[in-house]
């Protein structure tokens, strides 16, 4: 018989987070003898829609979609469903008739990181948010962070700037925030793409500014374990597990099972105490 065909479209493939996810996908597919097609949308949702259309031409059975935009992807989801393909969203949900969504509790991640940050700076002082690309998971983290910070009456959110989830930009943006707010005590970065740039800026400034983030990327884990690291916490996600679960769910659906609409994955608070040994 024809081997099972799995297509996965990523929002980007130059982030270790998604690269790890892709590796797990390949391993899992290999173990069940499935064929895999992968595309990279470069954060362009119209390209992503086209990529999905192309994969549908190849008669895939399962579509794993990591949407760069939840609403924009809907027509691709519709086409896939029309073609009888099982669709599971991963990491960020997609609108439309997806069969299931496997993703982190992003709001919780924001809350977790910013609570931790608030406590670490003694519940008082100025903090800033290093924002990212405006897509749902990221926006959710910011929302969660703000909710957490609101619980500290003496903490003031003095600045929100966009580091574009990219090291170099995050570096200069954080440098500027540090200059603009000499009393800055803490920074929350929406993911580890930006956090490493922010850390470089903080280290170079020599100031005691605490940094928390989301993801649990390998560099973040390493950085956290250095003595006196300013990087104190990351709310870790599980990209490999996400994709493994997604494949499982998709297969189950294909075999006729009734699958849950949403499979929220807990995030895990990682700090110096438990960083050693953690990896995706």
């Amino acid at each position: 018989a024809e081997p099972l065909k799995i297509g996965m479209t990523f929002q980007e493939l130059n982030n270790p987070y998604f690269v790890s996810m892709q590796k797990a996908l390949n391993e899992a597919a290999a173990s069940i003898g499935a064929q895999v097609f992968v595309t990279d949308a470069h954060h362009d949702v119209s390209k992503q829609v086209s990529d999905v259309e192309d994969m549908l031409q190849k008669k895939i059975d399962i579509l794993l979609v990591n949407p760069t935009d939840s609403t924009g992807i809907v027509s691709a989801v519709n086409s896939a469903k029309k073609a009888g393909v099982v669709v599971v969203a991963v990491d960020a949900n997609a609108n439309g008739p997806v069969d299931s969504f496997v993703g982190s509790k992003n709001y919780d991640a924001g809350v977790m990181s910013c609570e931790y940050l608030g406590k670490a700076i003694g519940s008082t002082g100025e903090v800033a948010i290093l924002d990212g690309i405006p897509v749902v998971p990221i926006l959710e983290r910011v929302r969660g962070c703000k909710a957490a910070l609101a619980k500290f009456p003496n903490i003031k959110l003095v600045d929100t700037q966009n580091g574009k989830q990219e090291r170099a930009t995050a570096l200069s943006v954080t440098e500027n925030m540090i200059q603009a707010h000499p009393n800055l005590k803490g920074v929350f970065s929406v993911n580890d793409g930006g956090s490493m740039g922010a850390l470089a800026a903080i280290d170079a400034s020599g100031k005691d500014i605490k940094l928390t983030s989301v993801d649990g990327a390998p560099e973040a884990i390493t950085a956290m374990q250095k003595p006196d690291s300013k990087f104190i916490e990351t709310s870790a996600q599980f990209p490999r597990d996400q994709v493994r679960i997604a494949i499982g769910i998709a297969l189950a659906k294909k075999w006729g099972a009734n699958v849950p609409k949403v499979i929220p994955i807990d995030v895990k608070l990682i700090d110096k105490s438990n960083a050693k040994g953690f990896s995706w």
Binding site: T39, S46, K47, D54, V74, S75
Partner: protein, 334 residues
């Protein structure tokens, strides 16, 4: 007479062909700006047919045409701009602004047609603003449109707060995947835009002015052409086609996307130049641009169909663009 006299007979008129149409010769064909792009397209298609057996299905051809439409529509305005010797980097951002605005107004309850009109008007307006800076203030196009690219993107983000706008009325989807006489709407819109642009550029005085400005702007001005006005219109057209592309995009995505269109200016430029239009203006054709856009679309689609690793796709695409331009370069250089 001081100068060398010559026999009168050598100075007679070519009486053969006043008013006669240009003969279609092989040499004439090769001199046409679309000859090499067309050959390139055929070759790439052939390669894809052999590399992937799903490439040459009716469904996939429909697929390619639809995918190409947005870039192809934007590239129409870009062609006009480049023919005058300019460039427009703002097209992608203007598309995002037009699209989010139209979507936002619809969702906020404005009459849907009015919302579309506002979205298109804003795209046109941005184009006209580019035109004013370029044509009347004499500022360099690349930097003017780099600035308006930032401005339009910023406005789209401010307007939407960074969130996509969804909940559009269902009939909007018609522009994205409806069909007219069996042809999909994005393709219909694209073809209509190309037809109009062809008439404009090849059969109306305005088109002559566009080519003339790119060939020799000062001389064109001396001939009595209102160069600034032509340029204004040309940039306006670029804004307009961006806005039309925005409608197709909004309909395809059923949402207004503030992040849409990043890097689209480069795709459009690539389509124009791969279609044989000279980047320094004055030479080229709208048909060539359609071929160029198809070439890029076939590449994108074909590489996906063959299942090439996305990282490697970058390299192959770059290589093929180089090859295509190498083959079609102007050999009469001096």
């Amino acid at each position: 007479m001081s100068k060398l006299t010559m026999e009168p007979k050598t100075a007679t008129v070519d009486s053969a062909s006043p008013g006669a149409p240009v003969r279609l010769t092989w040499a004439g064909l090769k001199r046409s700006t679309i000859f090499y792009p067309f050959v390139g397209l055929v070759v790439v298609c052939l390669v894809m047919v052999f590399a992937s057996n799903s490439f040459l299905s009716a469904a996939n051809i429909e697929n390619i045409a639809r995918q190409v439409s947005i870039n192809a529509i934007i590239a129409v305005g870009m062609t006009c701009v480049i023919l005058t010797g300019g460039v427009d980097l703002s097209v992608g951002s203007v598309m995002a602004l037009s699209g989010t605005l139209a979507a936002g107004l619809m969702v906020s309850g404005m009459n849907a047609v009015a919302a579309l009109v506002v979205g298109i008007a804003v795209g046109l307006g941005f184009g006209v603003a580019n035109g004013i800076f370029v044509a009347f203030a004499g500022m360099p196009p690349i930097i003017v449109t780099l600035a308006t690219m930032g401005i339009a993107r910023g406005l789209a983000l401010i307007y939407t707060g960074g969130y996509p706008i969804d909940g559009l009325p269902d009939w909007v989807a018609f522009f994205g995947n409806g069909k007219v006489l069996g042809v999909q709407m994005p393709v219909v819109i694209m073809l209509v835009v190309y037809l109009l642009a062809w008439v404009l550029l090849e059969r109306m005085p305005f088109g002559r002015y566009v080519y003339a400005i790119g060939g020799n702007e000062d001389a064109t001005r001396l001939s009595g052409v209102r160069v600034a006005r032509v340029k204004l219109i040309v940039y306006g057209l670029a804004g307009l086609t961006s806005a039309l592309a925005a409608i197709v995009l909004t309909a395809r995505l059923m949402s207004g996307q503030p992040n849409a269109g990043v890097g689209f200016e480069l795709d459009a430029i690539a389509a124009v130049v791969m279609g044989g239009t000279s980047i320094s203006g004055g030479r080229g054709s709208i048909v060539g641009t359609l071929i160029g856009a198809l070439l890029l679309g076939v590449l994108n689609n074909g590489l996906n169909m063959v299942g090439v690793n996305p990282y490697v796709q970058n390299v192959i695409k770059g290589g093929i663009i180089l090859l295509a331009i190498y083959i079609s370069r102007d050999r009469r250089r001096k």
